[in-house]
Amino acid sequence: MRRIPRLKRPSASGLSISSINPFSSTPQPRSASSPSKPSHLARLYSSDNQPVPRSLAPSPQEQENHVAAQYSLQDTPSHQYHLYKPPPPRSYASPSDEVSDPSYAPATTSAGLETVGDLAGWWDKSEHWSEASDFVGFRPREKVVDSLSIEAAVRRAVIEAFALQQVGKEDILTQVWPVGGVEELRRVIQLDLKSTETGHVSLEGDVAEVARGLQWEASAPEAAQTTPRLDSTELLRLRNAWDISWKRVPLVDPRIKFAVTKRIFQLTGQLVPDHALSDATNVVGLLHIVQKPPKPKTLTEEIQKEGKDLINLPNVTVATKRVTRGDKEQALGRLKLMQEELRKRDLPLEGHGFARKNRELAQLQGGM
C-alpha cells in the first residue's frame, strides 16, 4: 500500500518527504562521485541508480546543500518520523575471520540457520504509518447528492466569488479557499444576493468578512476533513428567504465561472464536465448540471428505480448478479445433496469458480 504524505498546502513546492528514501531504515548520504538528484526530479527518476542527464544534474554547490540537508534530517529524526515508523536499525554480524569463538565453523548449507527477516511488508502495514501520512485530496471523500445541499453549495460558491470581485481581490479567485465550518456556511449563504434583468449583481451584507475568510493561511490549523452540512429543514427555511433573482446571476466571466465550479467541486465533489461548461451561463444552468441525479450503473438498478411494474409481476424474476450453476442447483434444492456427497468423499467444497481460469496468463503478467 503506497502512501502519499498529507499536503500541508496545495501549492507547497518543497516538502521534507521528497528527500526521504523509503527503502532504507536511516537516510544515508550519497557519495559525491554519483550525481545526486535535485528534489524537483524526484518524481521523474524513480531509481537511485538511474543516471541524471548532465544538463539536469545539480551544480556542486547544490549537491553540498543537498547532502547538508540530509545530514540535518539525520540529526533530527523526529522531524521526518512523524509520518511513519521506521523499521528497526540494521545489525551486522561480524565477519567469519573475526569471530572470537574457536568452535565456530561457517555453515555450508542454509539448513538449520536462523532466519533474520527483511523489510518485506513493513511499509504495507497501516500501523507503521501515522494519520498525517494519509492523502488528503481536494475533492471531499463523500460526494454530496442531496439537491438542497448542492443548491446551498452553489449559492455559497457564487456569493464567495462575487464577494472577492466586489472587494477587488480577484487574484484569489483562482486560488484554493478554506472549507470552513457550519458557521461560515450559514453566514455566507444568508448574504443577500440579487441580480437584475441587465445582469448586474448586487451583494449586500458583510462582504469584506466573507472575502477575508477565503484567504488561505498556511499557519492556520488544518481544515476539517468533512464539508459542513446543514439539515434539510434549516436549508428549506433559508431557501425560502432567498431572493428568487439569485438564480439569474450570470456566469459569463470565465474567472468567476472557474472559481464557482472549483468551489462546488471542493464542497460537494460534483465536477462540472468540460462539455457542459458552455451551458452554464447562469446559476440556473449550473444547478441543472450539478443537481442531475447520477445515472444508474446497472440495468437492475434502473429497473429497481423505475421499472417497478416489471419486478412486481409474479412470473418475472430479476437477478442482480450472474446466475451461476450453483445458483441453479440451489434453486432446485440439489446443492445440499451434492455438498453432502462431496463431504463424504473428502472433496473440496469450493463450489463454482474455485479453479482459476488462465493461470498462465496471470503468471505472465506478473501474478502468482
Binding site: E302, L310, N315, V318, R322, V323
Partner: protein
C-alpha cells in the same frame, strides 16, 4: 391380411378444447456494458413488462451475463430448449424473437414439403410384403 396398428383411443390435438403453451420458461440474458446489448436492455426496460403480463404461463428469468452477447433461451415442456442470440438487434426485433420462442413447439425444425398434413390414420393401412396374395413378376 394386413397388419393393423393398435387403435388409438385419442390423438393429442393441442388447441382443441384446451391450449397449452409449449414454452414454459424464458431466460433473458444481457450485459450492462457491451453495446450489443443495447436493444436487449431497451426491450427489458420498456417492453418486457407488457409481454410478461400477456403471458402469465411463461416464467421469465432476467439475469446479467457480463461480457457476453444478449441471449433469449426458451425452455419447452418436451424438455428441449431453443436459444437465440439477439446481439445488435433493436428492441422491436428482440420482441419478435421472443414471440418466435413463445410460438415454437420445442420440437426440432422439420422440413414440411407436403401440401396437406393429417393426423388421421391411412385408410389403406401399412403395406407388408409377407401378407396378401403376392404379385407375380
Amino acid at each position: 391380411m394386413t397388419i393393423r396398428a393398435i387403435e388409438k383411443v385419442s390423438v393429442g390435438q393441442n388447441g382443441l378444447g384446451a391450449f397449452i403453451l409449449q414454452c414454459k420458461k424464458m431466460d433473458i440474458h444481457y450485459c450492462d456494458y457491451s453495446g450489443s446489448s443495447r436493444g436487449m436492455n431497451a426491450f427489458i426496460k420498456s417492453q418486457l413488462s407488457n409481454f410478461a403480463k400477456a403471458h402469465p404461463q411463461i416464467e421469465f428469468a432476467v439475469s446479467p451475463r457480463p461480457r457476453k452477447h444478449p441471449v433469449l433461451i426458451g425452455h419447452y415442456i418436451n424438455g428441449r430448449t431453443k436459444s437465440i442470440c439477439v446481439k445488435n438487434m433493436d428492441s422491436l426485433q428482440v420482441l419478435k424473437k421472443a414471440q418466435l420462442l413463445r410460438d415454437a413447439s420445442g420440437e426440432k425444425n422439420k422440413r414440411v414439403n407436403k401440401p396437406v398434413t393429417s393426423i388421421s390414420e391411412s385408410v389403406r393401412g401399412v403395406w407388408s410384403p409377407y401378407h396378401g396374395n403376392g404379385m407375380v413378376v
